[in-house]
C-alpha cells in the first residue's frame, strides 16, 4: 500500500469543465472524505482514481508510480458503487470470490478469503443467497466485502449510504469506519452529508464547483472554515469581523464590557438546545442577523424571549 496523489487534475465532459486544478493527497491508511454538493465533481474524481476516466490534465500517482493512464483492471482498487453494482447472476459468495478467481487464486485460498470477509461484514449466513434477495444494508455489506477481498491498494466508496434508510445510515457508517480501521486500508469516501463526513473521517476535503476549497481534520473544518461556502455547507455560521463563527461559539448575556447590544428576534426550542436569531443595529443603522445556540441546561437555564434586549459575546 502507498499513498495516492492527485496532481493538478482538470477535466471536462464535452465542453463543460467539471474539475479545475485538483491537488489532493490521500495518505496511507487514512480515511479521507470528499464532501460537497451534488454535481460538484466528486464522482468524477473517484472515476479518475479508479481509471474509468483519463483526466484532460494532471496526473494520478500511486507512491512513485504514475498510474494516470493505467487500465482500471490493473489498478487494484476496491470500489463500492452508489448502487452497489452487485452481479445479479451470482450468489453472495460468488460476488465476493469474483476478483479472486480472476487473480487465479487456489480454491482453498478463495474459500478462506471469502469466509474471512463474510465474517468481517457479518454475511456468513447469507453465503448462498442471490444478491437481489438481500436487504439494502446486506447488499452494501456484500459490495464492501467484494471490494476488500481483492486486498486492494485503496478502497473507494461513492455515497454508499444514499440508498439506505436513515435509521440504518448511522450504523453502517460506524461499521465501515470500524472495518477500515481494523484493516488499515487507505480509503476515499464520498458524501454530500456533512454529519457523515465529520463523524467518519480522518480528514475532510470540502469541494464546490470542481475545486477543493479546504482540507483538514473534521474539527478544523468545522471550527475554522476558511471560506463562506465551506462555512455554510458544513453547518451554519456567522460572519463577524472577518471570521466565520459557529452559533455555539456565541453566547447571550445581560450586560458587560465587550458585548454587542442586540434584540432577540426569534426563538426556536430544539430540545437539546435553543436556537436564537438576534439583530444588531450597527452605527450606520444597518440591521445584522446572527444565529446563536445555547445548550438547554434544564431549570437553571435562563431562557430568552422574542423582544428581549441582550448582549452578544464570542467564546473563542
Amino acid at each position: 500500500m502507498s499513498n495516492i496523489v492527485l496532481k493538478g487534475i482538470s477535466h471536462a465532459y464535452e465542453k463543460e469543465k467539471v474539475l479545475n486544478g485538483i491537488d489532493l493527497t490521500i495518505e496511507e491508511g487514512e480515511l479521507l472524505t470528499l464532501l460537497g454538493p451534488s454535481g460538484c465533481g466528486k464522482t468524477t474524481i473517484l472515476r479518475i482514481i479508479a481509471g474509468f476516466i483519463i483526466p484532460d490534465e494532471g496526473a494520478v500517482l500511486s507512491g512513485e508510480a504514475d498510474i494516470t493512464k493505467w487500465a482500471p483492471e490493473n489498478r487494484n482498487m476496491g470500489i463500492v458503487f452508489q448502487n452497489y453494482a452487485l452481479f445479479p447472476n451470482m450468489s453472495v459468495k460468488d460476488n465476493i470470490a469474483y476478483g479472486l478467481k480472476i487473480r487465479k487464486k487456489g480454491r482453498d485460498y478463495i474459500e478462506e478469503k471469502c469466509r474471512e470477509y463474510m465474517k468481517l461484514t457479518g454475511l456468513l449466513e447469507y453465503e448462498k443467497r442471490k444478491v437481489n434477495e438481500l436487504s439494502g444494508g446486506q447488499q452494501q455489506r456484500v459490495a464492501i466485502a467484494r471490494a476488500l477481498a481483492i486486498e486492494p491498494q485503496m478502497l473507494l466508496l461513492d455515497e454508499p449510504m444514499s440508498n439506505l434508510d436513515v435509521s440504518l445510515r448511522t450504523r453502517m457508517r460506524e461499521e465501515i469506519r470500524a472495518i477500515q480501521k481494523k484493516i488499515g486500508i487507505t480509503t476515499l469516501f464520498i458524501t454530500h452529508d456533512q454529519q457523515e463526513a465529520l463523524s467518519i473521517s480522518d480528514r475532510v476535503a470540502v469541494m464546490n464547483k470542481g475545486r477543493i476549497l479546504q482540507i483538514g481534520t473534521p474539527k478544523e473544518i468545522y471550527d475554522e472554515p476558511e471560506r463562506s461556502f465551506a462555512a455554510d455547507f458544513v453547518g451554519t455560521s456567522n460572519y463577524i469581523n472577518g471570521h466565520f463563527i459557529r452559533p455555539e461559539q456565541l453566547r447571550l448575556g445581560q450586560g458587560g464590557e465587550k458585548g454587542i447590544p442586540v434584540v432577540v428576534k426569534d426563538v426556536k426550542f430544539m430540545g437539546m438546545y435553543f436556537e436564537y436569531t438576534v439583530v444588531c443595529t450597527d452605527d450606520s443603522g444597518k440591521a445584522q442577523n446572527y444565529c446563536v445556540t445555547e445548550i438547554n441546561r434544564g431549570k437553571a437555564y435562563r431562557e430568552w424571549h422574542a423582544g428581549d434586549t441582550a448582549y452578544l459575546y464570542v467564546n473563542l
Binding site: 479508479a50 481509471g51 474509468f52 493505467w70 487500465a71 482500471p72 483492471e73 490493473n74 489498478r75 487494484n76 482498487m77 476496491g78 470500489i79 458503487f81 452508489q82 448502487n83 453494482a85 452487485l86 452481479f87 445479479p88 447472476n89 469474483y98 476478483g99 480472476i102 487473480r103 467484494r146 471490494a147 481483492i150
Partner: protein
C-alpha cells in the same frame, strides 16, 4: 508491467479480429448480394443498360402488379390498424378478469407461421372448406356463398394474422398513459371521442407509426397468401418467384429492386414522420384506473370485434388440429370429416423421408439464430458501449434487412452465390444446404439485434466497471457479467427468431434444394398432391413447437408483453 501490456494487446487483437470478421460477413452476405442484384437488373444481352427497367415499367401488366403490391400494403395497414387499435383499447380500459388469457390468445398468431394459417384457412373457407360447405348445407345453397380467392381473401387472412404488431405495440404504449389526465378530462365532461383524440392518440402515435412500418412491410412482402389464395391477384413477391422459376434472373432482379425501393421509401417516410411528431414520451408511473361504466356503442362494437377476433384466431388452429387426426380421404369427401386416425403422424414418425423436412427446418432455424446471435450480441454491446462511426455503420448494415422483404433477400443471395464466391470460400452456395440457414440468419438480424440492444441498454453500467475494477479484462467481463445478465433478453429474441424461421416460406420457396427441403415447402407440396393429412400433421407439430416457445418467451420477457 510486461504482463499489463500483454493484456492490452490481447484485447486489442480480439477487438480487431472481431471487426474484420463482422465486416467480412456483413459485406459478403448483405451488401455485395444486394449490389449483385442491382447490377443484374441492368444486365442485358448486349452489355449493361436501362432497357430491362424500361421494358418492365412500360408493361401495363407489370405496373398493375406494382399497384397491387402497394394496395396490399396499404390495405394491411388499414385493417390491422383498426382491428389492432380497437383490441388494445378494449384490453386496456375494459377487459375484466378474462384479460390474461384473452391477451395470450390475441398474441398467438405471431407464433404461427403464415403458411400454416393460410392452409388452415383454405380448409375452413376454401371451395370445399368446412365453413363454406357448412353454410351451403345450412342455407341449402347450390353454390359456394363466397369465393375464397383474390384480393379480398388475402386481406381477410392478413386481418387475422398481422394485427398483432399493432395490438402489441399499442397495448404496451397504453400502459404508459397518464390515467389522471384521462380522469381529469372525463371529469370535465369531455366526450370519449375527444379524450381519445386529445389525450390517448398523441401518446400512442409513435407506437402507431412503428406498427404502420412493420405492417406495411409485411403486407407488401407477403407471399404465402397471394401465392396460395391469390387467384389472379398478382403481387411483386409472387412474380419474383415466378421469374426465378422461369430462370429470368434479370426480370427478378428488376422486380426485387422495385420492391426494395417501395419498402425503403415507405419506411423512410414514416420514420421522418415519427421523428417529427412522435416524440417518445418517457415512461410514467401510472396507476391503472379503469372507467366503471362499460356500456355504449363503442364498447359493444369492441366486444363484438374481440369475440370475432378470438374465434377467428382459434378456429384455424382448432381446425388444423382436428383435421390432422382425420384420414385424407374423408377430408376430401365429407363436410365434417369423421374418419379418425393417427396415420398422418405415424407416417411422419416412421418414414425418414417424410420426417426429414421437419428435422431440416429445426436444424436450419437453430443454426440461423445461433449465427445471428453470434453477430448481433457483440455488436449490440459495442454500439451501446462505444457508439462511434464504425459501430453505427455496422448497426445500420445489420438493420438493413429490415427494409428487405424476404424475396429480396433470397434473390440477392441467388445473384451473389450462384457462382463461386470468395465470401463462401470459393464455393457456390446455391443448391447446397447452407444457403437457407444463411438466408434465415439474414432476415433474423434486425429482430435479434433490436432485442439484444434493448437488453444491453437495460443492464446497470456500473456492473461492467465493478468487474473491471476487480481486475477483469473486457472479454472476461463480457462472458461472465454481460452475457448472463442479458441472457433473458437474448433468449426471448432468439426464440422469436426461431419461430419465424421454422415455418418460413418465401425464401424457402426461392432457395430450397434436395438437401435442405424445409417443412413449409413439404406442407404445400403435400397439400397440392392431395396428401392433406400429412400436411396438416406437419402444421400441428410446428404449432406445438411454436406454442412451447411462446411459453418460454413469456417466461423470459414478461415485462415486454404484459
Amino acid at each position: 508491467m510486461k504482463n499489463k501490456n500483454h493484456i492490452k494487446i490481447k484485447s486489442g487483437l480480439l477487438k480487431g479480429s472481431w471487426y474484420i470478421v463482422l465486416a467480412f460477413l456483413l459485406t459478403g452476405y448483405i451488401v455485395v448480394p444486394f449490389l449483385c442484384t442491382v447490377i443484374k437488373s441492368f444486365q442485358t444481352e448486349n452489355g449493361y443498360g436501362l432497357s430491362n427497367i424500361k421494358d418492365y415499367l412500360s408493361n401495363p401488366n407489370q405496373l398493375r402488379v406494382i399497384l397491387n403490391t402497394v394496395m396490399l400494403g396499404a390495405a394491411s395497414v388499414l385493417v390491422c390498424g383498426i382491428v389492432g387499435i380497437m383490441l388494445a383499447l378494449y384490453m386496456t380500459f375494459l377487459a375484466g378478469r378474462e384479460k390474461k388469457i384473452v391477451h395470450i390468445l390475441l398474441l398467438s398468431p405471431m407464433m404461427i407461421p403464415g403458411v400454416i394459417v393460410v392452409i388452415s384457412f383454405i380448409q375452413l373457407y376454401g371451395e370445399s372448406g368446412m365453413v363454406t360447405k357448412g353454410l351451403e348445407y345450412l342455407f341449402h345453397l347450390t353454390e359456394a356463398p363466397f369465393h375464397f380467392q383474390g384480393f379480398g381473401a388475402i386481406v381477410f387472412v392478413i386481418a387475422y394474422t398481422q394485427y398483432v404488431y399493432f395490438y402489441l405495440n399499442i397495448y404496451v404504449a397504453l400502459k404508459y398513459i397518464d390515467y389522471s389526465l384521462i380522469e381529469a378530462a372525463r371529469g370535465m365532461g369531455t366526450s370519449k371521442m375527444r379524450v381519445f383524440a386529445d389525450v390517448i392518440w398523441p401518446e400512442i402515435l409513435p407506437a402507431v407509426l412503428t406498427s404502420v412500418i412493420v405492417t406495411f412491410a409485411s403486407g407488401i412482402s407477403s407471399f404465402s397468401a397471394p401465392n396460395l389464395i391469390g387467384g389472379g391477384f398478382k403481387v411483386l413477391s409472387t412474380q419474383i418467384v415466378r421469374s426465378k422459376a422461369n430462370n429470368h434472373m434479370e426480370t427478378a432482379s428488376v422486380q426485387v429492386v422495385i420492391l426494395f425501393l417501395i419498402s425503403l421509401s415507405v419506411m423512410m417516410l414514416i420514420q421522418y414522420y415519427s421523428r417529427k411528431y412522435g416524440n417518445i414520451n418517457s415512461a410514467r408511473a401510472s396507476a391503472v384506473v379503469r372507467t366503471g361504466k362499460k356500456k355504449g356503442i363503442f364498447v359493444s362494437l369492441c366486444r363484438i370485434v374481440i369475440v370475432v377476433q378470438i374465434i377467428m384466431v382459434v378456429l384455424p388452429v382448432a381446425a388444423i388440429v382436428y383435421l390432422s387426426f382425420v384420414d385424407t380421404k374423408s377430408i376430401m369427401t365429407m363436410i365434417f370429416p369423421r374418419g379418425f386416425t393417427l396415420e398422418n403422424y405415424l407416417i411422419i414418425a416412421e418414414k425418414g423421408r417424410v420426417l426429414k423436412p421437419l428435422i431440416n427446418s429445426i436444424k436450419m432455424s437453430v443454426m440461423a439464430v445461433a449465427a445471428g446471435l453470434a453477430i448481433t450480441v457483440p455488436t449490440a454491446y459495442m454500439v451501446v458501449k462505444y457508439k462511434g462511426k464504425w459501430n453505427m455503420l455496422f448497426r445500420m448494415l445489420i438493420m438493413l434487412p429490415w427494409a428487405m422483404p424476404a424475396s429480396v433477400i433470397a434473390v440477392n443471395l441467388i445473384n451473389a452465390f450462384n457462382k463461386k464466391s470468395i465470401f463462401a470460400f470459393n464455393q457456390s452456395l446455391i443448391g447446397g444446404f447452407y444457403i437457407l440457414p444463411i438466408a434465415y440468419a439474414i432476415t433474423s438480424l434486425p429482430l435479434l439485434y433490436s432485442s439484444n440492444e434493448v437488453a444491453v441498454q437495460g443492464i446497470n453500467k456500473n456492473l461492467e466497471e465493478a468487474s473491471q475494477s476487480l481486475g477483469a479484462g473486457m472479454f472476461y467481463t463480457f462472458i461472465h457479467v454481460i452475457i448472463p445478465n442479458i441472457a433473458p433478453g437474448i433468449m426471448a429474441g432468439g426464440i422469436l427468431g426461431l419461430i419465424r424461421n421454422i415455418g418460413e416460406y418465401t425464401m424457402s420457396a426461392l432457395l430450397y434444394g434436395v438437401y435442405n427441403r424445409p417443412i413449409s415447402i413439404s406442407m404445400v407440396t403435400n397439400m397440392q398432391e392431395f396428401k392433406m393429412g400429412i400436411s396438416l400433421a406437419y402444421g400441428v407439430i410446428v404449432i406445438i413447437i411454436c406454442y412451447v416457445a411462446l411459453g418460454l418467451i413469456f417466461k423470459f420477457d414478461k415485462e415486454k408483453y404484459f
